[in-house]
């Protein structure tokens, strides 16, 4: 009955290989509906904008994280302000994305459910200017879904975004940014 044994062996082997592969492949996470809120506050004016069109990838094996926000998708209550934001400050025709590329500090095991507070070190690229940043973020892992929340500030001067004297009192020197996204395990093709 060697053929029975061989069939079982083959079956087991294939199952093992597939399990191993799917296990590895499941360790890429992605999200293409990352929400971003930006908020500028001065004694004269509060300005808010929101986008739900950011995208991001986490590669668990290397702990690499990439998140990018198309600048034009940030929506302001006042469309004229949105036009000025794109035309005069972010120059989004030239620099269409705000991007962060970094590495998760060890300490978060994305294959295990739990809440993790970890730092992500990397490069924040806004308005064509790269800046080395360490951004604290909160990961909530549940049933293979990774919820990512991060809050940080971006100083306009760091990214060569100049605010003219006439509107200096209305736009904050440092803009608060909040990011939230639900990363799902990437399915294999």
């Amino acid at each position: 009955m060697t053929w029975v044994r061989k069939t079982i062996e083959w079956g087991l082997a294939m199952a093992l290989v597939m399990a191993a592969q799917s296990n590895v492949r499941a360790q890429n996470y992605s999200c293409n509906s990352i929400s971003t809120w930006i908020f500028s506050s001065t004694p004269l004016e509060d300005i808010r904008a929101e986008s739900a069109k950011g995208s991001g990838v986490i590669v668990a094996a290397t702990r690499a994280v990439v998140v990018q926000i198309p600048v034009k998708t940030l929506e302001f209550e006042r469309k004229l302000m949105q036009e000025h934001f794109n035309e005069n400050y972010m120059e989004s025709d030239r620099y269409p994305y705000a991007r962060f590329k970094g590495t998760l500090d060890p300490g978060a095991d994305l294959s295990k459910d739990g809440t993790y507070s970890v730092n992500v070190g990397g490069v924040l690229s806004v308005h064509g200017v790269d800046k080395q940043r360490t951004i604290p973020c909160k990961l909530l892992v549940k049933n293979g879904v990774v919820n990512v929340e991060a809050q940080f500030k971006v100083a306009c001067a760091d990214h060569n975004i100049t605010i003219p004297r006439l509107v200096f009192a209305k736009i904050a020197e440092s803009i608060s940014v909040r990011i939230s996204g639900q990363f799902h395990a990437l399915k294999q093709n």
């Binding site: 890429n28 004016e45 990018q68 004229l80």
Partner: protein
């Protein structure tokens, strides 16, 4: 080594390989994975083809944003040179050849209604402007905006023969404006138009005038632009040789300065008048004969109807 031993060796290697090789390949892919999920749509309309709804004299393809109200004050001074200019009038600054106060309101992002009043002939104007086509990065190559503008002359008649019918006080101007933002700095526009009048100033001058306008904007810095527009009147439906008076084609050039909600323009033009219904048929000054004048525009934008959702609000204290 028996068969099954070999088999398990191969199997072991396979598993090991799949564990090692796959993450390495995938890790390189983080950027390309992201690229494949790009959410930036190429079919979004191109923004800010022009900074304002006017260029120098003429309209641009821009309309007011939804619920934005634009207060626009315009001034044309007198001739810089020639008989009416020179130091006696401080190069035209003593003279106000036309003044204009107007309000433009965005009913939607694409539809603007406007009302204005000019000093010339005490002309009131009521206008509607509709953005029909919007330029996209891929797809639609141009913007198309339609303009309809009624002029109503409110002044007393100069003589008994004037305004014998009340309808003579009205004129209508229709224009199709076609523009394209060629680069982030340069935008060009061409605009055919048709002016319908009840009376013309002199025999031989057709009541209805076909015109063809050309305009452009060149951004010098983020907030400072060079703007120009030219309206071809003579030689189309009007033959200037048939007329007793000399009429010229309006040409305006200017610098436009934008500072978040305000726009200031410093202009030079040969037309005395501000409204299309007046400057198209009645420009009697020429750039070549000292008829050029200084003018300015002040525009202030107000946003009405704030959002009730506090998460979206932008507050002005």
């Amino acid at each position: 080594m028996n068969k099954s031993g070999l088999f398990f060796n191969v199997l072991g290697s396979l598993i090991a390989l799949s564990w090692l090789a796959v993450p390495a390949v995938k890790a390189q892919d983080a950027d390309s994975l992201l690229r494949s999920m790009d959410t930036l749509s190429k079919s979004e309309p191109v923004q800010a083809v022009f900074k304002a709804t006017r260029i120098v004299l003429s309209h641009s393809t821009e309309t007011q944003k939804k619920h934005d109200l634009d207060l626009r004050i315009r001034h044309h001074f007198g001739d810089i040179g020639g008989r009416f200019g020179s130091a006696h009038t401080l190069y035209g600054l003593d003279v106000a050849s036309d003044l204009f106060i107007g309000l433009d309101y965005g009913v939607t992002d694409d539809f603007t209604v406007a009302v204005g009043r000019s000093k010339q002939d005490e002309t009131f104007n009521f206008s509607g402007k509709y953005k029909l086509l919007k330029q996209q990065d891929t797809g639609m190559p141009v913007n198309l905006t339609l303009l309809a503008q009624m002029g109503w002359v409110a002044r007393e008649p100069f003589n008994e023969n004037e305004f014998t019918s009340y309808a003579d006080r009205f004129s209508w101007f229709f224009q199709g404006l076609i523009s394209r933002k060629l680069t982030s700095r340069l935008s060009l526009q061409v605009m055919p138009g048709y002016l319908i009048r009840q009376v013309s100033m002199e025999p031989g001058d057709p009541r209805n005038l076909f015109v063809l306008g050309f305009a452009g904007r060149m951004k010098l810095t983020k907030r400072l632009s060079f703007v120009a527009d030219y309206t071809l009147v003579n030689g189309l439906s009007r033959q200037p040789d048939n007329l007793a008076n000399a009429y010229y084609d309006p040409l305006g050039v200017g610098l436009e300065i934008e500072t978040g909600g305000h726009i200031f323009s410093l202009n030079f033009m040969n037309s005395e008048y501000i409204l299309e219904n007046n400057f198209i048929p009645n420009t009697k000054k020429s750039w070549g004969k000292g008829g050029v004048r200084f003018g300015f525009t002040i525009s202030r934008n107000f946003s009405l109807f704030k959002s009730k959702d506090p998460g979206k609000q932008s507050k002005i204290y």
